[in-house]
Amino acid sequence: MNAPMISIRALAKTFTLHTQGGTRIRAFDGVDLDVAAGECVALHGPSGAGKSSLLRSIYANYRPSSGRVVVRHNGGSVDMTAAEPRAILDVRRKTLGYVSQFLRVIPRVSTLDLVAERLTAMGVEAGEAVARACGLLARLNIPERLWPLAPATFSGGEQQRVNIARGFVRDYPILLLDEPTASLDGENRRTVVNMILEAKGRGAAIVGIFHDDEVREAVADRCLHLTRPEEA
């Protein structure tokens, strides 16, 4: 049996809000999780149980208070809680795709470039990168007239699909998905479900938050249940 793609041990995250009198908020603690290639694990639990925080901690966007997150990368392994910034960036560039809930828009950068730059950053030739980005945007029903525009003025659903395109334009070995279908209609939701299933089929390890029961049942192999930690 191959080593898991993601191996999480005793992971905990507590926020200390210094601007609010040093209030401590425990997001999650004691999380253990292994995810194998081709497997999809759904994070499940009530609002405030720390699902998004856990996803962000795996991506090393949040810095966990204790524990470790080891991911397979370049044939070795990297502990995302202890790695140097540039090592983390390398993991994000090559191994770890993250589809956040909200698209972060960069002024003046077109939708097409936003998606294609994920490929050019990996050394894919510009023409090919654009072609693949176009294909994906079309599949996700983003009207072609929007491709040259920065997505600042797009609807929530359009922005989310652009975000999904960014996460799927490359075949990341690991995908982290934070409510990828939350504001999508039925047809687009089915498209995204198919894309997730295809990613699993090629061996991606996936951790996701899926609000929609139907979607979760369609893509998840198992659930990790998170409960709201007691107040610190």
Binding site: F15, H18, T19, R63, P85, R86, R104, I106, P107, R108
Partner: protein, 257 residues
């Protein structure tokens, strides 16, 4: 790519008994953009001057790895070598373009100066390079003979960038490059910088008080207060999960558009 470009250790500068900056250490790799953020008086401009060799440290060292792989200690370099390095491998983009441009020399002359300093003596080729760089920084090549004073603030800033990048430096220091510009002009400059940094594989140390600028341009971030570094990390870590009280205050003070 797998060796640092800049090594900074224990960098300290006092102005008399007042602290400019104290005990700053970090490394910078090729292609990395590091943002130094903090309020005015936090020591970020002092640090930038120390890093670019324009100010001598009270203690500590800044070492730069040259194109031949040799480590050069900036404070210990002779003035001649330091200035040569500043003209070739390093660049400085000033907050005020007047500090970084020759205002009475045409745009083309400004762009060509570093090359002429390196011994380029072919007018036609210098002109060609000037036209090329005008285009790369989105300035109308037809205005190559105009003086910077005829340009808007955003155009002057782009010209300053071209003037620096023409020798293909490996490390550029930027001091609040977008402040003082209108928001739409800022966005254009940011976009341009993002492209140039990525396509040239530039390492950048960027001083800014604008956290949004830092998020868009920087890989890593260093938060300074009272001359000391209080928090470091990936730019998105520091902005999304700030740990130090001062960083939390900074981040919570951003106006949400």
């Amino acid at each position: 790519m797998d060796q640092e470009l800049l090594r900074v250790s224990g960098l300290t500068r006092y102005y008399g008994s007042r602290v400019g900056c104290r005990d700053v250490s970090f490394s910078l790799w090729p292609g990395e953009v590091l943002a130094i953020v903090g309020e005015s008086g936090s020591g970020k401009s002092t640090l930038l001057s120390l890093l670019s060799g324009r100010l001598a440290p009270t203690a500590g060292d800044v070492s730069y790895r040259d194109r031949d792989g040799r480590w050069l200690s900036l404070p210990n370099l002779s003035e001649a070598d330091r200035r040569r390095l500043q003209r070739t491998d390093l660049g400085v983009v000033h907050q005020n373009p007047r500090d970084g441009l020759r205002m009475r020399v045409s745009a083309g002359g400004n762009i060509g100066e570093r090359l002429m300093a390196l011994g380029h003596r072919h007018y036609g080729r210098l002109r060609g390079t000037g036209l090329d760089w005008m285009e790369r920084v989105e300035l109308d090549p037809q205005r190559i003979d105009d003086h910077p004073s005829a340009f808007s603030g955003g155009m002057q800033q782009r010209l300053q960038i071209a003037r620096n990048l023409v020798t293909e430096p490996r490390l550029v220091f930027m001091d609040e490059p977008t402040s003082g510009l209108d928001v739409s002009v800022q966005a254009r400059l940011l976009d341009l910088l993002r492209h140039l940094v990525a396509s040239l594989g530039l390492a950048v140390v960027l001083v800014t008080h604008d956290l949004a600028v830092a998020r868009i341009l920087a890989h890593r971030m260093m938060v300074m207060r009272g001359g000391e570094v209080v928090e470091t990390g990936l730019a998105d870590q520091v902005l999304d999960d700030p740990c130090h009280p001062y960083t939390q205050l900074l981040v919570s003070s951003i106006l949400q558009a």
